[in-house]
């Protein structure tokens, strides 16, 4: 779950991080009233709150020299789509005059199985670009999950960046605050980029926090509606609302499997036999007939899929449940059904096949045969 910039800054500010003074305006609110009562002093930065990368380049961040200009920019940004997405919130902040932009983040290093701090003096662009342009500038420091990030470690990182005196202290305490937020919010990422220097203090100009979806139940206060457009297609968000793992692709063969590995392999098979998959759809382990029905209905409605290849190997998933779900989906679907090719193998496969065959659907035991038929039918 990606948090909006204003949420991330709000959290970090509570942990003691300096952020510019600002106010959030929600769509429909009295913009002028809110800006006047906020007491902010121009020049102001007006920032569209969208959960997509490259917002600045797309025109989502503007500078206002006066309050009047800020009011009209807020109104403009509410109607200004960034990668096809209009914001629900706009953040207005006092501009911080600055000449340097630094980078700091904390994430989980999978292979080291530890949190890792990344810091660089050359922020303002994304970490991938820093890694490409100035890899030597990146300080990488692993944190022991037991002890957490201790003061002397944070100072060591700051010192290694070349910061001295009060600035070193301020940067170190920023890292510790970020680390505490990282732990408390079960974050996959806490990133401050850019951050700048005002006197001998560091100030976070932009911030990102991504919370682990598996931990979102611990943070009910973050349960505002999130519009994750731009990078997420209409069909992907539809699938997400149904609780299905779905990725839209460019082809024409609908793919449904159980388990991420088997579903990816099913996509790979479609390519290998000369077709192009329309999607990735994983029903997960132990899916009920109800869940299968939802997934199959989604593919029946999904216009890119001209035929459907269903590849099931039952372990914890039961073939009879899957078969029942498929049959129910076809019964419930109003339109002309698409050709469906089902490969069933594993737990309760005989019963599953019987259910399908009674409904007039052919069950394959070899996925290659099913994929070849599905490609043929889609053309």
């Amino acid at each position: 779950m990606k948090l909006y910039e204003f949420e991330a800054k709000g959290i970090l500010a509570r942990y003691g991080v300096s952020v510019p003074r600002g106010v959030v305006v929600e769509k429909g609110e009295d913009v002028r009233g809110k800006l006047v009562s906020s007491g902010l002093t121009p020049p102001l930065v007006v920032k569209s709150q969208v959960l997509v990368a490259g917002r600045g380049k797309a025109g989502g961040v503007r500078i206002a020299k006066s309050l009047d200009e800020a009011v009209s920019l807020v109104e403009l940004l509410f109607d200004y789509p960034i990668k096809g997405l209009k914001p629900r919130y706009v953040l207005v902040e006092e501009a911080v005059e600055h000449s340097v932009e630094l980078y700091a983040s904390i994430a989980i290093d999978r292979s080291a199985r530890k949190p890792v701090v990344l810091a660089s003096l050359y922020g303002g662009v994304d970490i991938e670009e820093i890694a490409r342009e100035r890899p030597e500038s990146i300080i990488r420091y692993h944190v022991d999950p037991y002890t957490g990030l201790r003061g002397f470690e944070a100072r060591f990182i700051a010192k290694k960046l070349g910061l001295k005196g009060g600035l070193m202290q301020s940067f170190a305490s920023l890292l510790q605050s970020m680390y505490d937020a990282f732990i408390d919010y079960d974050a996959e990422l806490v990133e401050v980029n850019p951050l700048t220097i005002v006197g001998d203090r560091v100030v976070a100009l932009d911030a990102r926090i991504i919370v682990d979806d598996n931990a979102s139940y611990k943070h009910p206060e973050l349960a505002v509606e999130r519009i994750e457009g731009g990078e997420v297609s209409e069909w992907e968000s539809k699938a997400r609302r149904l609780g299905l793992a779905f990725v839209e692709l460019d082809g024409y063969v609908g793919v449904l499997g159980n388990g991420a590995g088997l579903t990816m392999t099913s996509m790979d098979l479609v390519y290998e036999y000369g077709g192009i998959p329309a999607n990735f759809l994983d029903i997960g382990g132990g899916a009920s007939a109800e869940r299968v029905k939802k997934a199959v209905l989604l593919l029946l409605e999904f216009p890119k899929a001209k035929s459907i290849f269903i590849n099931i190997f039952g372990g914890i998933t039961r073939c009879d449940e899957v078969a029942r779900g498929i049959v129910e989906a076809l019964r419930e679907y109003g339109g002309k059904p698409k050709p469906i090719f089902v490969r069933l193998s594993g737990t309760r496969e005989e019963e599953g096949r019987r259910i399908l065959e009674e409904a007039g659907i052919r069950a394959f035991d070899n996925p290659v045969d099913a994929v070849i038929e599905a490609i043929k039918a889609a053309r």
């Binding site: 989980i108 999978r110 292979s111 199985r113 530890k114 949190p115 970490i127 991938e128 890694a131 999950p145 037991y146 732990i183 079960d186 996959e188 682990d212 598996n214 931990a215 139940y217 611990k218 990078e231 793992a245 990725v247 692709l249 499997g257 159980n258 388990g259 991420a260 590995g261 088997l262 579903t263 990816m264 392999t265 996509m267 790979d268 098979l269 479609v270 390519y271 290998e272 998959p277 990735f280 994983d282 997960g284 382990g285 132990g286 190997f313 039952g314 372990g315 914890i316 998933t317 193998s345 594993g346 737990t347 290659v368």
Partner: protein, 290 residues
């Protein structure tokens, strides 16, 4: 011989009274796994498929001191607590089936387990099976048969698929380990490979990987450095997956150009592993190595 589980494995089922826990307890019993007891806090004194249920791991161990392995079906919110309970009770192998555990929690309990000398398999994994001896997991037992091939896999369903293909060709397995699909897991490829290296029964090893992370690259390095000397056949799922998208498993995502199909295949090929383009080629590749 085998690795991790065998006929001396005596199992405790944590979360035995839940839907999945009780269903798979029955299937494990039918397979012949020795299940000594179960735990569900608050349900102590009851029975599931003839297996006694206790309120805590300690109580179960007092009555059944021969228990040496735990399998965890406890729901995600309570699963970390169950894992710590098993580690603190001194169990040396804990198989975590539960899906959806926050990654920070897994980070903590896998590090804790390591410091206590407990092997964690999973989370979000199908478990471990030594065909004909013990099944500590949720895999369909009938797809496996006993023989000289070890399997380590990041994907549940693909493991069944590939084992079944081998079994149909008359090629059996020594032990099959599903290490799980989360970004952080306990037992890794390389740690499991150390076990198979020492197992005289295993003649060939199959690695079933997928995009994301660097476990396959690390496995390749281990082979290059001569720390794993048996023939390796590898299959990597996700050849055609687009970068930056999460493909079902939280772990299956290509980040910052690392973890893509090409880099994994390149590393493994360079180390001398045979790469299968699809799961169905594996039996013929393996049979040439035996």
């Amino acid at each position: 011989m085998a690795v991790l589980v065998d006929r001396n494995t005596v199992v405790l089922v944590q979360g035995i009274t839940g839907k999945e826990g009780s269903f798979h307890t029955r299937l494990m019993l039918e397979y012949g796994t020795r299940i000594a007891a179960g735990v569900t806090p608050g349900k102590g004194g009851s029975e599931v498929h003839g297996v006694k249920v206790y309120d805590s791991v300690r109580e179960a161990l007092e009555e059944h001191p021969d228990i040496n392995t735990s399998i965890v079906f406890v729901p995600a919110r309570f699963a970390p607590d169950a894992v710590y309970e098993a580690i603190d009770a001194g169990l040396k192998l804990v198989v975590v089936i539960t899906e959806g555990i926050p990654v920070h929690e897994t980070l903590r309990f896998t590090n804790y387990a390591k410091s206590r000398g407990t092997v964690i398999v999973g989370p979000n994994c199908p478990g471990v099976i030594t065909p004909g001896e013990a099944k500590v997991g949720i895999m369909p037992g009938h797809v496996f048969s006993r023989g000289p091939v070890g399997i380590i896999s990041r994907s549940g369903t693909l493991t069944y698929e590939i084992s079944y293909a081998l079994t149909k060709e008359g090629i059996g397995q020594s032990t099959v380990i599903g290490i799980g699909g989360d970004p952080i897991v306990g037992l890794t490829f390389t740690e499991a490979m150390e076990m198979f290296e020492r197992d005289p029964e295993t003649k060939v090893l199959i690695l079933i990987g997928e995009i994301g992370g660097d476990m396959e690259e690390r496995a390749a390095r281990m082979i290059m450095e001569g720390r794993f000397t048996k023939p390796v056949v590898a299959f990597i799922a996700g050849r055609t997956a687009p970068p930056g998208k999460r493909m079902g498993h939280a772990g299956a995502i290509i980040m910052m150009g690392e973890g893509d199909y090409a880099s994994k295949v390149r590393a493994l090929e360079k180390a001398g592993a045979k790469i299968a383009r699809n799961p169905f080629e594996i039996p013929s590749i393996v049979s040439k190595l035996l």
